[in-house]
Amino acid sequence: MDLAFLVTQALNALQAGMLLFLLSSGLALIFGVLHVINFAHGAFYMLGAYVGLTGLALTGRFWLAVPLAVLVVGAVGALVERAFIRRLYGADPLAQALLTFGLLLVLDEGVKWLWGPQIRSLPTPEALRGTIALLGVPYPAYRLLVVAVGGVAAVTLWLFLERSRLGAILRAGVSDRQMVAALGINLGVLFAFTFGLGAGLAAFGGVMAGPIASAYPGMGVEVLIKAFIVVVIGGLGSLKGAAVGSLLIGVAETFGQALAPDWAMVAVYAVMVAVLLWRPTGMFGAEAAT
């Protein structure tokens, strides 16, 4: 195994991890603040790619299509929260699972109806079509951008939660909802915002993944499983956990695929089993809830 192969693989793992982080951070946030197990999250990821596709067709610019996708899907997320999710706070987790899974199926069909069943390719931005040499190894420029953007998103999210007032309110909401409500904060708006933010993050992942993985109905279901694995091993509701878990799964998956393709998925589950045996609540679960 030579250096070039290792460098390529390390970048692959990082890039896969970053996309996974965008997806699982939203999932972790929604679980942490709202205590909702959101199966519809994969659908927001898919919607991100499709709205990005339409945005690209309308504006012709990837850099406009990305924020458009995030904002539109974020708004859809907030609406979904007001219309459906809020009825289920504190309800039986099974009811939540059924509702959000139902939403996932409905949105999947909706996408098929609006955009058709065929796979749709999001073109890679012209300027990023080539490769860039890192340590003498050529690597697709667009994928390097995904790594950079994922990193920036992680830092921004962290700053927002740790340093902003809204972030402080959200963190407070995670540990004690009654207290936040007692302080006169409108929980309804806060929850809609949180759900929308989570959906927007998923959409961001979806539209960024578009040029790599294309857009097609059912894409959300596929990534959802991995996102849940990340959230479980990171610790339910923990953003730090989502970040570390994403990288871990990215590494397990890419190296698994390259070294022992038959065992790639097994490697992912093996990581999960190992982590859960070591810490049943996940790496950053329970005692550190952000």
Binding site: A4, A213, G218, P261, M265
Partner: protein, 403 residues
Amino acid sequence: MAGMSRRQVLRTGVAAGVSAAAGLAFPALLRAQGKPLKIGLLLPYSKVYAVLGESITNGMRVVFEAEGNRVAGRPVELLREDDEVSPPVGLRKLRKFLTSDQVDFVVGPVSSAVAAAIRDPIHQAKVILLNANAGDNALTRERCSPYIFRTSFSNWQTSYGLGAWAKQHIGGTAYLTGSDYAAGYQIVGAFREAFVAAGGTVVGESYVKLGSTDYAAIMAKIGAVGPALSFSFFAGSDAVHFVKQFAEFGLKGKVRLTGAGFLVSDDVLESQGDAAVGAVSTLHYTRTLQNPQNLEFRKRYQALTGKPPDVYAVQGYDTARVILEALRRTGGDTTDPERLSGVIRGIQFESPRGRFRFDPATHNAINDMYVMEVRRGDEGLANYVVSVVKELKDPGHCPNITA
């Protein structure tokens, strides 16, 4: 009498007359007349192969709509069930077709894994299965059945012809990749067989889970080995991802991209764009074929769906042609599976893909396999024929069929 030509009326009449003279099938024919012809489409309408299911269905509609949706006096009903590319789901939907719908024919599936799962119930129920895509070699070899016909291809057929050609025209070293299921191993295996026999060397081999979106790990391996060519079996969305990423990782231009034709077939080519240009593959159909049947088919398919046809559409079209022809020959009677099987075995006609006929020994279609290259030509981005492997017949043998 729109939709029913004079020739058809005559032919139905003659068939009825002959049956009446024989004095046997006539009551059955009377019963069959007017009773809907139910065709159970067991196809994927979702997931990785969704487009394939749609194309097959539309290809069939081209045939039946030209007949006014009546075949030998029977109104045609296409019943669709989504097999979700899953063997257990496929099996469940098949049971529904056999028990509650009581279909006359089953058409499908796309996935070899689903086909393997439904083979035994089909054989036991003695319902004619017209396999419009699934290429599993075993279905027309050791697991064949007198009731199973394949209008598409065997996995072996789709890649064997390319092996020697690639060695001769591209180079002597190959990296092989495929989807990690029966079809992947069979298609890659047939290429390997022919490539090695022609003196080539295989320098690496990887298989990827069906429905994967990221092939970066494989690109890293192909890049590290640097072979003359890469041969792949991927189809549907997998093919789009593989070909795009092959170009993204800078392999295009260094390593020649080749594969079974699904890798760059018409259904995925648009999404792949320039990444696919230069790829060499073999398949039994491309929309650029210039025979009159294809020109006519393209016009009708375009009118019906607003899109140009792909290989799956032709498989659907030929499948419907087989049904049509079989019913004309039996006068609309589908009650006797043995007779139906015998009739279907002898069917041949000119298809958009060239001459269509079954190998009576295996019930598999005998195909001309076209070696094609992706270019931007008069037809836009498309597969253009560079060579033909004539009348490639699967080398299998079926012990259960008495030819």
